[in-house]
Every structure is written in structure tokens, then in C-alpha cells.
């Protein structure tokens, strides 16, 4: 990776982190768990990495097996995470 490419990635990292710090200020206590669960689902974005990692022909390489393993886990994280968050928030609405 070239230095300028790395610097752009670091720019993105710094700005997004700063945004993350600023994004959340006052959260009512009832929303603590759903917010945690919802952002946990977002961290399942690693599914993008898993897709790239298992895109390889054949079953002989360790890289492929690890990629497939990662894809199953990330799918559980993404689908389960969003579904359980939605279920929690649906409950709040009824009250």
C-alpha cells in the first residue's frame, strides 16, 4: 500500500471516529440495550471482508475455509443483530 493511500484511510478513520464520539450524547436509559444491539449489528460490516475473503475457487486453501467460517459468523451477527434490535424496539412502541 502506498503512503498516500494509507493516509486517506487514516483520514477516514479519524473523521469517522470523531463523528462516532459526537453522534451520541443523551440517550434515555431504556434505549441503552437497543442502541448497543443496533450498533453491534453494524459492526457485522465485517461481512464485507468475509465475502472478499471466501471468494476463491476450490477448497484447498486455508484462506478460503477461514473466509467461509467468517461469512457464516458475520451473517449470524448481521441478521440476528438487526432482528433482535427490531424486536426490542417493537416492544417499546406497544407500551
Amino acid at each position: 500500500m502506498t503512503v498516500s493511500a494509507l493516509l486517506i484511510l487514516i483520514y477516514v478513520l479519524v473523521l469517522a471516529s470523531y463523528l462516532g464520539f459526537e453522534l451520541i450524547s443523551k440517550v434515555p436509559p431504556t434505549l441503552h440495550t437497543p442502541l448497543m444491539s443496533g450498533s453491534n449489528a453494524i459492526s457485522g460490516i465485517t461481512i464485507v471482508g468475509a465475502l472478499i475473503a471466501c471468494n476463491e475457487m476450490g477448497y484447498t486453501s486455508m484462506a478460503k475455509w477461514l473466509g467461509m467460517f467468517a461469512l457464516i459468523l458475520a451473517s449470524i451477527n448481521v441478521v440476528g443483530g438487526y432482528a433482535v434490535t427490531d424486536r426490542m424496539l417493537k416492544m417499546f412502541k406497544k407500551k
Binding site: 500500500m1 494509507l6 484511510l9 477516514v12 478513520l13 471516529s17 463523528l19 462516532g20 453522534l23 451520541i24 434515555p28 431504556t30 434505549l31 441503552h32 440495550t33 437497543p34 442502541l35 448497543m36 444491539s37 443496533g38 450498533s39 453491534n40 449489528a41 453494524i42 459492526s43 457485522g44 460490516i45 465485517t46 464485507v48 471482508g49 468475509a50 465475502l51 472478499i52 475473503a53 471468494n55 476463491e56 475457487m57 486453501s61 484462506a63 478460503k64 477461514l66 473466509g67 467461509m68 461469512l71 457464516i72 459468523l73 458475520a74 449470524i76 451477527n77 441478521v79 440476528g80 443483530g81 438487526y82 432482528a83 433482535v84 434490535t85 427490531d86 426490542m88 424496539l89 417499546f92
Partner: protein, 278 residues
């Protein structure tokens, strides 16, 4: 083609940002969650369109298996067991980042002849460390909340020095990996230390404080995803990962404040002891 993908990633990033923002407001929370789910779908489809699909059968099957398991447990779990569920899902996310990092390590270090540069190696090492800690830490949190292991703080003499020693060993081994990128033994040691550190940092914390720990581990899994973004040179991973990493820290702090405690105590793993004495 490539520009379209970058625009799709940009749209996904904006949806994640808006999603997190709305999740903090009672009225809009559900819509926020929906928006971030749409962002995730866009990111996945965009990725599938970018790569020259070589193994779509496996990809389809893996997503189907994972999605079915996730959906099943998310809809079947009792409402009172949801914190455990979040811990479990979070652990899987951490393990996924960990596996992606190792997959990339194997791919670049062996057959392809592409050599690992300093950025690759650093990101792989960070991703293995944070991903490993997130995985075993979340599993311990899950087991404690579920009552499978005692919710009492488990402490022993020399716990903090041991953690420090392990961290030093991790740094030393990382240097060795840099000097011999192809040596599997050093990578194995790094994996072992990471997994052990996750266990050791969560066992001294009492069951009642687990929600705060899960929130912190959630932040870690974001950082692990972010490190994976550096390995793959992928912006959407970095944006989503660092958003979760940073907002997770803030949420942890808010939760600590609500319980009248300090974040330093959590980070040092001495959290549970305050409860035991007070």
C-alpha cells in the same frame, strides 16, 4: 463500475451514521435500525457486484446458514435473555473479523506470492488481538449472564501483573512476526495470547456489571472490523467500524455514569470488586 461501488459504499456509510443517530431517540429508534439494515444490504450487494464472483454457491450457502441461525435465535429468544443474545452475536462478529484477518494472512503469505507489507501485517495483528479478545470476552460475558458460570467476580492473586505480562508477550511476538512473516508458530502464539486475554479481562467482573462490559466489547468489535478495513483497503469497513468503536465507548461511558462508576475501573478489569465491597 468501480465508481458506482464507491458511491454505494458512501450511501451505506451515510445510512449507518443516520441509523446510529436515530437509535438514540425514542421516537425514531426503530426507523434508525431499519435504515442501518438497508445500509448493510447495500454494502453487501455492492461488494458482491465488485468482486469477480468465483464461489457464489459457497457464498450463498454460508449467508443462508448464518442468516437462518441468526434469525432463528433472534426471534425465539425470551425477552429477558436479550443481553445474553447481544453478547453472543457480538462475540461472533469479533470472531468473524479475526477469521477474515487470518484468511488474508494465509492468502498473502502462501500461494499467491503477494508479500505482506508493514500495513498489512500491522492491521492483521491488531485485528487478531481485538477480534480474539472480543470473541472470548463476549463468550465469558454470555456464560456469566446465562448462569452457566458463576456471576461472581473471579479474582486471583497477580491478575493484573499477568495481564500486563501477556500484553508484553504479545508485543514481543508481534515484532517476531514482523521479522518472520511466514512463521506460523508466531502467529499461533499471537492467537493464543489474544484469546486468553479476552477471558482474563472479563472473569474478574461481576455478573451485574456485564451490560457495561458487553457495551465495551461491542465497541471493540467495531474496532476489529475497522482494522479489517485497513487490511482490505476498504472505506466502508473503516467508517462503520470506527463509528461503532467510538460511539460504543461513549455509550459505555453513559452506562457507567448511570451506575455511578468510572470507565477506568472497567478497563482495568477491577470493576466487580467495587460491587463486592459496596
Amino acid at each position: 463500475m468501480s465508481t458506482a461501488i464507491q458511491i454505494a459504499y458512501l450511501v451505506a456509510s451515510i445510512l449507518f451514521i443516520t441509523g446510529i443517530k436515530l437509535l438514540g431517540k425514542t421516537k425514531d429508534a426503530r426507523r434508525g435500525n431499519m435504515l442501518s439494515a438497508i445500509g448493510m444490504l447495500i454494502a453487501i450487494i455492492a461488494t458482491l457486484l465488485t468482486i469477480n464472483l468465483l464461489s457464489y454457491v459457497e457464498i450463498f450457502v454460508c449467508i443462508l446458514i448464518g442468516g437462518a441461525i441468526g434469525l432463528f435465535y433472534a426471534t425465539k429468544v425470551a425477552m429477558t435473555k436479550i443481553p445474553e443474545m447481544v453478547a453472543l452475536f457480538n462475540g461472533f462478529g469479533g470472531l468473524a473479523s479475526f477469521a477474515v484477518a487470518l484468511s488474508d494472512y494465509f492468502q498473502k503469505s502462501s500461494a499467491t506470492g503477494v508479500s505482506l507489507d508493514a500495513v498489512n501485517l500491522t492491521s492483521i495483528i491488531i485485528s487478531v488481538l481485538i477480534g480474539g479478545v472480543t470473541f472470548t470476552g463476549s463468550m465469558i460475558a454470555f456464560l456469566k449472564l446465562d448462569g452457566k458460570i458463576s456471576g461472581q467476580p473471579i479474582t486471583f492473586k497477580g491478575q493484573h501483573p499477568l495481564n500486563l505480562l501477556l500484553l508484553i508477550a504479545f508485543v514481543v511476538t508481534s515484532v517476531l512476526v514482523f521479522l518472520n512473516p511466514g512463521n506460523l508458530v508466531f502467529i499461533g502464539v499471537l492467537i493464543g495470547i489474544s484469546l486468553l486475554l479476552g477471558i482474563l479481562t472479563v472473569i474478574p467482573i461481576g455478573g451485574a456489571d456485564m451490560p457495561v462490559v458487553i457495551s465495551l466489547l461491542n465497541s471493540y468489535s467495531g474496532m476489529a472490523a475497522c482494522a479489517t478495513g485497513f487490511i482490505l483497503n476498504n472505506n466502508v469497513l473503516i467508517v462503520a467500524g470506527s463509528l461503532v468503536g467510538a460511539s460504543g465507548i461513549i455509550l459505555t461511558q453513559i452506562m457507567c455514569k448511570a451506575m455511578n462508576r468510572s470507565l477506568t475501573n472497567v478497563l482495568l478489569g477491577g470493576f466487580g470488586q467495587t460491587v463486592a465491597t459496596g
